[in-house]
């Protein structure tokens, strides 16, 4: 990694980078390398058979489709929630603010059990949805609900500090220049929030892709319909087929990596073009 750091005076690049790489390698890369290594116990043909089976493909479609959908829902409502929590006063705000972390603190199994109970035909929510013909629990829709739940804090919590940090001067300047409130939001505030929003989206997405604990309780787990890839991994482990399980995990990992890289690349391009625009 060639560095343009010499251009400016800030210290700590080498130390920070060295530590980052070391820690990343120890905690993340080494274990993942062990996983990839384990999957090489399979021949290429075996690996391909596992990765391209109908069930595996269907489960990948469901896993990534539901995760994308959930991350999008979280992006929309996350912006709304973060904005309201930072900018508008209302009674009980602190409590509501604290509530946002719930999906992380609650063990995923409890979340899954609770959501399944709420959205089942006789649950607090399900009993009103079912007469409308909307079935959530034990359908792919249930997967989206569970993934929305577990990813919710990401967007809100990445946006909050950024919104708190937006300079009032920015908005004042826009207003002085005759912008309407909506224009100010669309042209000034939203662009300032965009990098954090993308971060939150990415995190919610990646968390959703790997999620297992909450989903299996609400998904119904029907093969080809509501079976997620992590469930297939577990069912391989139940057969003591560790190599097969790691093969599926590697497939997921590669797709996730490409997906995340695309979003992160987009985000950096965006940030750079804005910075260039700001300099000009």
């Amino acid at each position: 990694m060639s560095v343009a750091a010499a251009r400016h005076v800030l210290p700590g690049f080498r130390l920070g980078m060295g530590y980052t790489i070391l820690y990343l390698s120890l905690i993340v890369l080494l274990p993942l390398a062990a996983m990839v290594f384990k999957s090489t116990e399979l021949t290429a043909a075996q690996f391909w058979a596992i990765a391209s089976g109908e069930r595996a493909l269907a489960s990948l479609r469901i896993t990534f489709g539901a995760s994308l959908l959930a991350a999008m829902i979280n992006a929309v409502f996350g912006v709304l929630t973060a904005w309201v929590l930072v900018r508008y006063p209302f009674p009980g705000k602190r409590f509501v603010d604290a509530l946002v972390d719930l999906p992380f603190a609650l063990p995923t199994a409890v979340a899954g059990i609770t959501l399944a109970t709420l959205y089942a035909g006789n649950g607090w929510i399900g009993r009103y949805l079912e007469p409308l013909g909307v079935k959530v629990a034990f359908t792919p829709l249930g997967i989206v609900v569970a993934l929305t739940f577990i990813g919710l804090p990401f967007v809100v919590r990445t946006l909050q500090p950024v919104i708190e940090d937006i300079e009032p001067e920015l908005e004042e300047a826009a207003a002085t220049l005759g912008a309407t409130r909506w224009q100010t939001f669309a042209r000034v505030l939203f662009p300032a929030m965009l990098p954090a929003l993308l971060t939150g989206f990415t995190l919610a997405l990646s968390r959703a892709i790997g999620e297992y604990g909450s989903v299996i309780f609400i998904a119904g787990n029907m093969p080809l319909i509501s079976e997620i890839t992590p469930l297939l991994i577990v069912s391989k482990l139940e057969q003591y087929d560790v190599a097969g399980a790691t093969a599926l995990a590697v497939v997921m990992l590669v797709i996730s990596f490409v997906l995340l890289l695309a979003v992160n690349g987009l985000q950096w391009r965006l940030a750079n073009s804005r910075r260039a625009g700001a300099r000009a």
């Binding site: 603190a105 409890v110 908005e171 004042e172 990098p195 990415t202 992590p230 991994i233």
Partner: protein, 307 residues
């Protein structure tokens, strides 16, 4: 708060509509599940709830969970600050790739996250035989649980800080350095105070996840009662044993972590307000305290985003 110009704030009707919409969303997605957890926990009355919590196994699970979180958080704080510093304040090639690598642990299914450590340290793993020969226990003991938790909470703090530090730009730090501050002075006096909200959120999130993690930990824990069972594992076992009240009582303890968030935020806010008041009393008059606004105290950020 200062009264705002109409172009500086939304019309009341929009505010009310947005607030209502946000609250409705949160009520459905967070409020009802929370309520439901407590309803189950208290289904058999308060004494049954308290009995479930007084159970020695529940207590040892709570203690273990706290120890694990305490082991994990400092390590991830240091990493988070270091990584965010490098990524947000410097330009280098491969940045997007580095960030993606940091994100990766989230995308790895928790089931697999536990498994990878078994592949390394397990009896049939890479280092397993050596560890066994030297009687060093990593998995099915505290170190394994800490490692798995480190893995699943790895990105939180870094990811929380990167967009924030990026938005803040590097002018303040550069100013500090050019005024002769050492690197550590800059870190303690400029950088950390500026990012403390983001850091706090990151720590809170990482802590919540560290305490609530089930999947990865369940693979490396060994489930020894009263010894390597964390609270989420304890919850699952109780549930499977048809002890619904016990399970949800334990889960409610984790849910109440949200209250810890509340306390931490309030405490920091309070400290900050006091210090801002002190500072503004003895320092320049332009640093006006902005109490309760939740904004980073008195710090102005000539950020990169100028309109």
């Amino acid at each position: 708060m200062k009264p705002r110009h109409s172009a500086l704030a939304e019309p009341p009707i929009v505010r009310i509509a947005l607030t209502t919409l946000a609250l409705l969303f949160l009520a459905f997605f967070l409020g009802l599940p929370l309520l439901s957890v407590f309803a189950e926990a208290f289904a058999a009355g308060v004494p049954a709830y308290l009995r479930a919590l007084a159970d020695p196994e529940a207590r040892s699970a709570v203690i273990l969970t706290v120890i694990v979180a305490l082991g994990v958080l400092p390590l991830n704080i240091v990493f988070g600050v270091a990584a965010a510093w490098v990524i947000a304040k410097f330009e280098f090639r491969g940045k997007a790739a580095l960030i993606t690598l940091i994100d990766l642990p989230f995308a790895v299914s928790p089931v697999v996250a536990g498994l990878v450590f078994v592949l390394i340290f397990g009896a049939q793993g890479l280092f397993g035989p050596w560890l066994m020969a030297h009687d060093i226990k990593i998995i099915f003991a505290l170190p394994g649980i800490v490692l798995a938790t480190l893995f699943v909470t790895f990105p939180f703090i870094a990811r929380e800080l990167i967009p924030l530090m990026q938005a803040q730009g590097r002018e303040e730090e550069e100013a500090a350095i050019s005024l002769g501050a050492s690197g550590w002075q800059m870190l303690w006096r400029v950088t950390l105070p500026n990012i403390k909200w983001g850091l706090l959120y990151g720590v809170i999130l990482a802590n919540a996840r560290a305490m609530g993690e089930f999947g990865a930990v369940s693979v490396v824990s060994g489930h020894i009662r009263g010894e390597t069972n964390t609270l989420p594992l304890h919850v699952e076992i109780l549930y499977n044993e048809y002890n619904q009240v016990g399970a949800f009582a334990a889960a409610s303890v984790l849910a109440m972590l949200a209250l810890v968030t509340l306390l931490a935020k309030t405490a920091v806010e309070w400290r900050m307000r006091r210090e801002t008041a002190m500072l503004s009393a003895e320092l320049s008059p332009e640093r006006v305290p902005a109490p309760a606004s939740g904004r980073t105290a008195g710090a102005t950020h000539p950020s990169a985003e100028r309109p």
